[in-house]
């Protein structure tokens, strides 16, 4: 499929149209960017760390939303891409590669993993893609835990503070740098989703979702579109992993490849509304507020609660809480909920 864009009108105008139309984009985008830029001035040290983490989750949730929401393919490998970004960058860093190139190297590793998983499975019908993404994560954790070469040992945690090279900054400035990095990443992820919705890719995807055989018949390479989106999604997750590793300064394999990350972002996207631009952000904010309320000391309890959230959302509000903004309070009325419950029921 060709994806060139037709040049119509001035460049700026075209971009504005793609981002939701009219000069209104500037009306909310500029103040928002300004607010984010000034945020470190008002929050304390803890606040800015939380804000940076929220930005990271927005980027991750949007990355997953591309493949899981828009394409509807449950990727369970996003923790693997995140981990490859983090661990890959670490390996390149301790071998003397400069920071940005090392980060790119980590992303390249994740992209090749996405190709290895996606190439054989995305042309198949059925659940093979999900299975492959689930087991690749386990295989990579086990592989890296035993990996010991190029000065990297998977079984111990690796200190990369000196290699990242921001040691002259004090704590507040250091967190601020990484808050900005995460905010830019989240912005890029949002931009990709918005442009994607209005691009030929988005159109092709809608065609595939509505009628896959028909889409294939008019010349859309179904497997190619899916693979392309999967690779972009993996690259975004890996970039988040690389920035996270640089921010943390110490990397260990088990926490970089923690599969709970995948499920956290799935909960967020489902809660907010999969396949929508703003849904994942709603999901991220709600899950973060819940976590702040519950606290981290009850790990089992938060597992149970995230499980319950998914079950309730899937059964009663499968389009996510974004429906509250679309339909108003009516989305929570008994009639709508019971209609949702019966929507996919076996007769």
């Amino acid at each position: 499929m060709k994806l060139e864009t037709t040049a119509s009108g001035g460049g700026l105008l075209r971009w504005q149209r793609r981002l939701g139309g009219g000069p209104w984009v500037a009306a909310w985008a500029v103040p928002l960017a300004l607010m984010l830029f000034l945020l470190p001035e008002v929050t304390g040290a803890y606040g800015i760390r939380v804000a940076g983490t929220i930005m990271m989750y927005i980027a991750l949730a949007q990355a997953w939303n591309l493949i899981g929401g828009y394409v509807g393919l449950m990727s369970l490998a996003h923790s693997a891409f995140f981990g490859l970004g983090a661990i890959g960058m670490t390996i390149f860093l301790i071998n003397g590669v400069p920071l940005l190139l090392a980060g790119l190297g980590g992303v390249a590793l994740a992209v090749s993993a996405a190709l290895v998983v996606g190439l054989p499975t995305l042309r198949l019908q059925g659940h093979y893609f999900v299975i492959a993404t689930l087991i690749i994560n386990e295989a990579l954790v086990n592989g890296f835990l035993n990996f010991s070469a190029f000065g990297f040992h998977g079984a111990i945690s690796q200190n990369i503070i000196a290699e990242v090279g921001l040691m002259e900054l004090d704590g507040a400035a250091y967190n601020r740098v990484f808050f900005y990095a995460m905010a830019v990443l989240a912005g890029v992820a949002m931009l990709i989703v918005m442009l994607f919705e209005r691009s030929r890719w988005g159109l092709a995807l809608k065609a595939i979702r509505d009628a896959e055989p028909a889409a294939a018949a008019i010349g859309i390479s179904v497997a190619g579109v899916k693979l392309g989106i999967f690779v972009v999604s993996a690259a975004l997750a890996a970039t988040a992993g690389a920035v996270w590793a640089a921010w943390l300064g110490t990397v260990d394999t088990t926490s970089a490849f923690d599969i709970t990350l995948t499920f956290e972002i799935i909960v967020m996207v489902f809660l907010g509304g999969r396949g929508t631009t703003w849904g994942p952000i709603i999901g991220v904010l709600i899950v973060f507020s819940l976590n702040e309320m519950i606290g981290v000391e009850f790990a089992e309890l938060s597992t149970i609660i995230s499980g319950l959230i998914v079950v309730v959302v899937v059964l009663l509000q499968p389009d996510g809480l974004i429906e509250l903004f679309r339909q108003g309070p009516r989305a929570l009325s008994l009639r709508v909920i019971s209609a949702n419950l019966r929507r996919y029921q076996v007769k």
Binding site: G72, M74, H127, I135, E300, T303, K347
Partner: protein
Amino acid sequence: MSLALQIIFDALLLGGLYAIGALGFALVWGVLNVLNLTYAAFIMMGAYATYWLWRIGFDPVAAIPVVMLLMFGVGWLMQRGLLNYVARGPGSLPIALTYGVNLVIVGAALYYFTAEYRSIALPDYLRGSLEIGGAQLTNARVVTMVIALTLTAAVWWFMDRTETGIAIRATRMDMESAQLVGIRPRFIFNITGGISAALAGAMGALMAVIYSVSPQMGDHHLLQVLIVCVLGGLGSMLGPLVGALTLGLVSSIVANLWGATYAMLAGTVMVLLVLAVRPAGLLGRQFYES
């Protein structure tokens, strides 16, 4: 020589266990076209049920039928109360739902039972071992393999010779035609969910006898079950058995030569190779993927 024999015995044992698990998992996958991730929790529940039955005085092997009956009920309820509501939806909905249920059950098990590993003290008749050609084959493993083969045979008989089994196969091949001849899909789905969970329970029970019991045991075993399903293919009864023996053989060779941590990597590589070269599985015929 004795190492080779030991590898083969280990493979047979692992293969037998995973074959039962894969049989149950492939049933729901084939009939409902749903990937049931709660299967991990079902395996764990079967193991804990065996453990607690043993604690109140049951013989661990005699407990297996009781556990299977209990798990049949659990599977039926799960199917009726939850899965039937999303079965017709886009594929990501059932996966998310079953994953959520799995989180809730495993989380509850962690909360009430703690992450502590528990194991069953074997009765005397399971303790001894046979020595064949210098390799050790414990009685527990012999019994496990016999049970695994019996269950596989029982499922084959049920699916091939009983009216309900034929109805299940008909539903799997073509649901609309099955409805036309008077089969009620909802009833078939509930039974399928029940049998699937009962087989998961049996696998968990045998795991509890041979290894140990912990809340997160099912998550690991589910991955192996998935690998077996892909390797063997979904179309036949023999598929899971062949897939399980292949995985068992490769896993125990890799584990004996390089260490157990590489077994998972080997399984993944096999899955990706099979999907690239022969997506219907080593001997699978395609039923609904056309």
